[in-house]
């Protein structure tokens, strides 16, 4: 207690000295760290580091490896598997041969039993893993000998291999603990390029290189992720030299644009913002209103003003620069056309400028999540564009608890997007049988053509068939938009220019610590001076 007292008194004295202005030095540059150590600032931290509870399910988990992994172009590459899986002719059996001689960081060998354990535990109903729906296709997973794993699927599922980037946990450690609350979630053991050295929740996650990593020991020996929620504080700590890299919003990233010692990375994404158009609402349920709103929004201005140019106009879940995009489905901003569509459908302007049809005012509420500035901005811009066409949109803020019961009839400013495969977000977003299932298909979109195309696309192993099916979906969304897609948002990162290797993958909506230029930090090399 005396030590604390002394320290407290010393602290108070120091603080007083500071108040009186003894210290007036501004922005001292931080100590220059050796280039084999990197500190990055992230905005959110995972709830757990256990893959069994969902950590790292999209890859780049640092501590673990999946059977497969994504390269810079989001192509699948073998990781703990020796090669890409063999898929049976009916598309229901996936066989993986495992890499030999891989060890967990505690020295125990990695075997097929660990793979079987990981997937079985996740699929166990008693495991509280909220992402297990993603593995819904799996009927069984079986280890055949120490180096072969066979997945049998309930139905042919073409993008299944994309799911097997999921990290593998060691059975000999995690199998002995309570999966939901055991120590594995805070003291994980994996095969990955880094080993966890400490996790101070809400503050930082620290790693050191795994010297016996099967892919070779990383050159960046010490890697730390500082959890800093506030954008301004993160930018300040980056500027002061405490951080080597950070994720930043466009307006703050701009402040580093002229900095020659730092590089800004704008990651292309599938991260869209859209407005749900509930079929159950008398106004948004009318195809004419949907079509009119779809061309009445000025997407280019939104990208320009709301995102400071860091993004793209969105015409569907697939961004325009993706190979999955269907050229010709772009919709130009055309207020005149929007008005004509509404006029032709019988929506006549009322006295206050809001259109009316059969006594129904063209008015509906639009909810956005409280405190989410990007969604709020999009909602307000959408409402103002809609008003010009004579449709009144009243924006309201609420938490998901408030919004959820209203999703059936009220519009919501939503977000999503998953780059690994179009099936991952489109199937959940548009399939009529998933209408109102949890947060899936919020708008209750119901289009038999789209349903059929989505099913064909997920079942066929033929890339040409799949591409044709997703083309159909995108063309149907032009004829009958269930959602007005507004923008795809770039994710911006600023990195000290001290390494060769930083770059970005195409990123999903939910960009956790696996996204960002440090997705491949294990391959970074210090720059020669």
């Amino acid at each position: 207690m005396t030590a604390r007292t002394v320290r407290g008194a010393a602290g108070a004295a120091l603080a007083t000295a500071l108040i009186t202005g003894v210290t007036a030095c501004a922005n001292p540059s931080g100590p220059a760290r050796p280039a084999d150590s990197a500190v990055v600032g992230i905005a959110t931290e995972p709830q757990t580091l256990s893959p069994l509870l969902g950590y790292g399910k999209d890859g780049n988990s640092k501590i673990f490896d999946g059977l497969l992994t994504h390269d810079a172009d989001m192509k699948l590459r073998p990781a703990l598997a020796e090669a890409l899986p063999e898929v049976s002719a009916d598309g229901r059996t996936y066989t993986y041969r495992l890499r030999q001689g891989v060890k967990f960081s505690d020295g125990e060998p990695f075997t097929a039993a660990d793979v079987e354990f990981t997937y079985r535990t996740i699929l166990d109903p008693a495991t509280n893993n909220a992402s297990k729906t993603e593995l819904d296709a799996i009927e069984s997973v079986t280890a055949q000998g120490p180096d072969r794993v066979v997945f049998t699927l309930k139905y042919p599922y073409a993008p299944f291999a994309e799911r097997t980037v999921l990290p593998i946990a060691p059975q000999h450690v995690a199998g002995k603990q309570d999966v939901n609350g055991g120590g594995f979630g805070t003291r994980p053991v994996g095969t990955g390029p880094y080993v966890l050295t400490g996790w101070s929740k809400g503050e930082k996650i620290s790693f050191r290189a795994n010297p016996s990593y099967w892919g070779g020991e990383p050159a960046v020996k010490k890697f730390t992720m500082a959890v800093i929620k506030d954008d301004d504080v993160r930018a300040t700590r980056l500027r002061s030299g405490e951080l080597d890299a950070a994720v930043l919003p466009p307006n703050l990233a701009e402040g580093f644009a002229g900095d020659r010692t730092r590089r800004t990375f704008a990651a292309k994404t599938f991260d869209y913002r859209n407005v749900t158009l509930p079929t159950q609402h008398p106004v948004t349920g009318d195809p004419a209103v949907r079509q009119a709103l779809d061309v009445a929004v000025d997407r280019a201005t939104m990208v320009d003003k709301l995102l400071d140019g860091a993004g793209k106009a969105a015409y569907g879940p697939v961004p325009t620069d993706s190979p999955w995009f269907t050229p010709g489905t772009e919709r130009a901003y055309d207020l005149g056309r929007a008005k004509r569509i509404l006029d032709d459908a019988g929506w006549k302007p009322g006295e206050d400028g809001v259109r009316v049809k059969d006594g129904v005012r063209a008015s509906f509420p639009l909810w956005y999540t409280t405190g989410d500035k990007i969604r709020q901005d999009h909602a307000l811009a959408f409402a103002s564009d809609a008003r010009k066409a004579g449709v009144e949109v009243t924006t309201e803020a609420g938490t998901w608890e408030v919004i959820e019961p209203r999703m059936k009839t009220d519009a919501v400013l939503a977000g999503g997007g998953s780059p690994a495969d179009p099936d991952f977000d489109q199937y959940l977003l548009l399939t009529s049988s998933l209408a109102g299932d949890g947060f899936n298909n919020m708008a209750r979109y119901d289009n038999p053509v789209v349903d059929r195309a989505l099913t064909d696309a997920r079942r066929s192993g033929d890339p040409a068939v799949r591409k044709a099916a997703y083309d159909t979906v995108q063309r149907e969304l032009v004829k009958n938009p269930g959602y007005v897609f507004l923008t795809h948002i770039d994710h911006l990162y600023v990195v000290n220019d001290r390494w060769d290797g930083p770059g970005t993958q195409v990123e999903p909506h939910d960009h956790g610590l696996g996204s960002g230029p440090w997705w491949n930090v294990e391959h970074w090399k210090p720059k020669q001076k």
């Binding site: 008194a9 509870l53 909220a130 300040t236 405490e242 977000d425 949890g438």
Partner: protein, 321 residues
């Protein structure tokens, strides 16, 4: 004195029982959904069947009275349960954090009490003087300023504008180990802000107490005996003027805890406050209950402490019974 402490401890049991029941009841009425909080962003793509399974696994579909009873019986055997939101046993969560919170609170307490006493005595000596007017005005301003606002202001000034002190955390991001040299600079701003939010109360009480005491007979007597002004002030007036402050020490404990809650959040201090906020917004029953018990115990202990101090300081006050 021992009897009083013992009796108070016995009395604490029903209080704690009531408080935990109240926490479960309030949490059950909360608009936040524990399943949604648990699932996070993954919940937005999960199927309804999956969310329902999660609800059943977390046991949040059961009536709160049953959950309270289960929690109580297992807590009495030493098992505080598992925190759903932190995916960690509650005992681990508390053990890893309570030390940092106690350190922050104790430092802030000292940093508030000492300057407040000095300022209070000086202000009371010359009531209406320049120091009194300035300090009292400042005290009212600080009293009205919310702690989190002071925190943000301090971050802006010392961390962002001056770059003189770290804006948050326990150590520098790159530091591997927690050393005193690392913690000390990180402790300054949170302690400063928490102390500033507590200081006005102590200052105003000391000032009032000492000023009143200066009017009393013992002081007049002391002056009549020709004792030095310094002796009168510190030996007589301060001694009796400090009595209300002793009461205040006990009753400020809850304020210190809620103040710490806000300050820890602003400075990403890895104490129990951050866990409390998370537990509350995600309706994490076991964690919330354990933290409430902890806070209640701290308040009861604070009250006991101030009563004991009072008894020791003022012979006229007995140890009730």
């Amino acid at each position: 004195m021992a009897r009083m402490a013992g009796r108070r401890t016995l009395f604490a049991a029903p209080v704690l029982l009531l408080v935990t029941f109240g926490v479960f009841a309030v949490a059950a009425l909360s608009p936040f959904d524990p399943v949604k909080a648990y699932a996070g962003t993954a919940g937005l793509t999960a199927s309804q069947a999956e969310l329902d399974q999660l609800r059943a696994n977390l046991g949040v579909d059961r009536p709160f009275t049953a959950r309270w009873w289960d929690w109580l019986t297992s807590a009495l055997t030493g098992d505080l349960g598992i925190s759903a939101v932190l995916r960690q046993p509650v005992a681990d969560v508390i053990a890893g954090r309570v030390g940092w919170s106690a350190m922050l609170a104790c430092c802030a307490f000292v940093a508030a009490l000492l300057p407040a006493t000095v300022l209070g005595v000086l202000a009371a000596r010359r009531r209406g003087g320049l120091l009194d007017r300035a300090a009292t005005a400042l005290a009212y301003v600080l009293e009205a300023a919310p702690a989190f606002w002071l925190g943000l202001l301090a971050v802006w000034l010392f961390a962002v504008r001056l770059g003189a002190l770290p804006s948050g955390g326990l150590t520098d991001a790159a530091a591997d180990t927690v050393t005193a040299g690392q913690v000390a600079p990180h402790l300054v701003l949170p302690v400063l802000v928490l102390a500033l939010s507590q200081l006005p109360w102590f200052y105003l009480y000391v000032r009032q107490g000492v000023a009143d005491a200066l009017e009393e007979d013992p002081v007049r007597g002391a002056r009549a005996r020709g004792l030095s002004e310094r002796r009168v002030l510190l030996g007589h007036a301060l001694r009796s003027g400090m009595l209300p402050v002793l009461t205040l020490i006990g009753s400020r404990v809850p304020e210190l805890i809620t103040g710490a809650l806000l300050v820890e959040t602003v400075f990403s201090w890895p104490g129990i406050a951050a866990a409390t906020v998370q537990a509350a917004t995600s309706v994490d029953f076991p964690l919330l209950a354990a933290l409430t018990v902890l806070a209640t115990a701290a308040v009861l202990a604070g009250n006991l402490l101030s009563d004991l101090l009072y008894g020791l300081a003022d012979p006229r006050v007995g140890f009730d019974g």
